[in-house]
Amino acid sequence: MTRFSLILALTLLISSCTFYTLNPRGKTNIGGLFTVRSEIAWNKATIGKTEIWTIDGPSLQELRFVNGLSDGDKLFENPAKENSPEYKSEMSFLEIKEFIETSAATSGIVEITSRNFRPYKFGSLDGFRAEFSYTHEDGLLREGLATGTKKDGKLYLIFYSGTRLHYFQTHLDEVEYILRSIKIL
């Protein structure tokens, strides 16, 4: 019984971990909608409909692909966010911006300020882009950018964020290269 409990506990522990694998430089298919090209290799983990890419660790900097949210989906996967909003396919770009900000507010982000919310070509699709700054509960200031589009009512987002000190800037050029490389399939 004790051995069974130990195995069960270890299984539960392992299943709760996020595993990163190496995503080599070059072309990558994202969520079946588009491809991107990267000049360097990234560490990659997948949680539900979200792919997280990072070089130095997700708390320092991360590139997040949210692939095809449907009606009723939430933006973040953490179970602490019972009251976070649900995506609706009828949302306009202005409402999607609100959806992102409210999701952030219900998941430990204390203060978020967006800048230059504007139309943006997401590959060949009409989309949006904004830059933002935010403070998490841990008190660390972070910078970020977000771009997204809708296809057949589904929402596709790319976020890049990192600590204002050092990590956001470190791979910003690489991220801009990735964004320019988006090709809709």
């Binding site: 009251n83 909003p85 202005l94 219900t106 300020t113 967006s114 230059n116 919310f117 509960e137 008190g139």
Partner: protein, 425 residues
């Protein structure tokens, strides 16, 4: 897990109530409970003796005192000292100097000789709460400022928390829990409760709150202290019961139990508290006490921040509670256009049947009542867009751009105006 449990057990075995008294301290504010009979003129004037029964027989903590290191109380303080260090660097902290100095001055006024022992942190969490750690670290949540109307009401809540510190309720709770052989759970819960909450984990905090919070006897005793602080500092003591009446109203408006106020989890029934507080207040007034509400001083500090606090409240997405809160704020009469604007926002975001129409009506009322925030035109435009009334949509968006030409979303709004116009919509 075994090592910390053993270490804590040793602490417990060594337990005593010993405290180190520093030289040059003032006497306790009201005297210890045991010696309190007749120790204060104010107290004799207003105390309902039934409400000050101390079932734990612990004396009040003395000003300037830290527990001796060999005591269980010192162990308890060490646990929450770590939480305090996290709190000091938290992103939730409100750093506005006016708010901080006002709250700080009020705490000092109420706590008197304990002023330096109580460290106050204003934390940006949009819910009604204030909390006291055993080491005198007090958190005041910004949601509280939306739910009190004047300085007397705020003092009632702060005084209540100071009461927890003076009466060492955490220590009382710890010993009580120890006797139930559940100490580890207590420490885990105390550590969790002492942490900095976010709007996102309020529901889990609620569950923790029911385990880690003070007992109902502790709460009654602290209510009594809050009342005593009001009387002693020249406030109208009836305002303490008004706080509870308002919280009852808001909670009753909530259509989901999980979003009932955190205070409801462990505190005595609000109705009972309200009745006890008003009974004590009436006794004080019968005996000639006159007190003020301090409304203007309170409003001078908090009214400029109300919009930002309401925006945080809106993001909790507890719309029925926010609507009731707005109703109470409207009765208060300050900045009615801002209140109507937020009512429109609740309807727009709730987006139930007929809510678009209700939102538009609220926005129009706001525009007639005064000068609501310029964003009102963007939100009106968003609703007209949903209703496919493109001309009205464009007019609203253009008004918004005129009022906020440098808005962070100006380029997107211009794009929406131009594309619908080009498409002949």
């Amino acid at each position: 897990m075994r090592l910390p449990l053993s270490a804590l057990s040793v602490l417990c075995l060594l337990s005593s109530t010993g405290c180190v008294t520093l030289p040059g301290q003032d006497k306790p504010l009201f005297g210890t409970t045991q010696e309190s009979e007749g120790s204060s003129e104010v107290k004799n004037a207003v105390i309902d003796k039934d409400s000050e029964k101390d079932v734990y027989t612990l004396p009040d903590i003395s000003p300037g005192v830290r527990p001796a290191t060999y005591t269980d109380e010192a162990g308890l303080w060490m646990t929450v000292d770590r939480a305090k260090n996290r709190l000091k660097t938290s992103g939730n902290l409100i750093r506005d100097p006016k708010i901080n100095s006002y709250v700080r001055a009020l705490v000092c006024k109420l706590a008197g000789p304990y002023c330096k022992d109580i460290r106050t942190y204003v934390v940006r969490v949009p819910a009604f709460n204030a909390s006291m750690m055993p080491n005198g670290v007090m958190q005041v949540w910004t949601g509280l400022f939306l739910r009190v109307r004047n300085e007397a009401q705020l003092s009632a809540v702060l005084g209540h928390e100071i009461g927890h510190y003076l009466r060492r309720h955490s220590l009382q709770r710890m010993r009580e829990t120890l006797s139930a052989s559940n100490f580890l759970i207590f420490v885990q819960m105390a550590a969790a409760y002492a942490g900095v909450p976010s709007a996102g984990n309020l529901a889990s905090l609620l569950a923790q709150g029911s385990l880690a919070s003070f007992s109902r006897d502790n709460e009654r005793e602290s209510d009594f202290y809050g009342h005593r602080f009001l009387v002693q500092n020249g406030y109208d003591p009836r305002e303490a019961s008004v706080v509870w009446d308002q919280i009852i109203r808001e909670d009753e408006a909530s259509d989901e139990f999980q979003f009932r106020s955190l205070f409801m989890a462990s505190h005595p029934q609000s109705e009972e508290r309200s009745e006890t507080l008003i009974r004590m207040a009436n006794k004080a007034i019968e005996k000639g006490h006159k007190g003020e509400k301090g409304r203007k001083r309170f409003l001078d500090v908090f009214l400029p921040h109300r919009k930002s606090f309401l925006l945080d409240d809106l993001r909790r997405r507890q719309y029925s509670k926010t609507l009731e809160l707005l109703k109470m704020l409207e009765e208060d009469g300050e900045k009615p256009a801002e209140i109507m604007y937020f009512r429109g926002e609740v309807y727009r975001l709730r987006n139930k049947e007929k809510d678009k129409e209700k939102a538009l009506e609220a926005y129009k009322n706001a525009l007639e009542a005064g000068t609501p925030p310029p964003e009102i035109h963007r939100y009106m435009g968003m609703i007209y867009s949903k209703l496919k009334q493109r001309v009205k949509m464009r007019t609203s968006y253009q008004r918004y751009l005129k009022l906020k030409p440098d808005a962070s979303d100006a380029k997107m709004i211009k794009y929406l105006v131009e594309t619908t116009k080009r498409a002949g919509l």
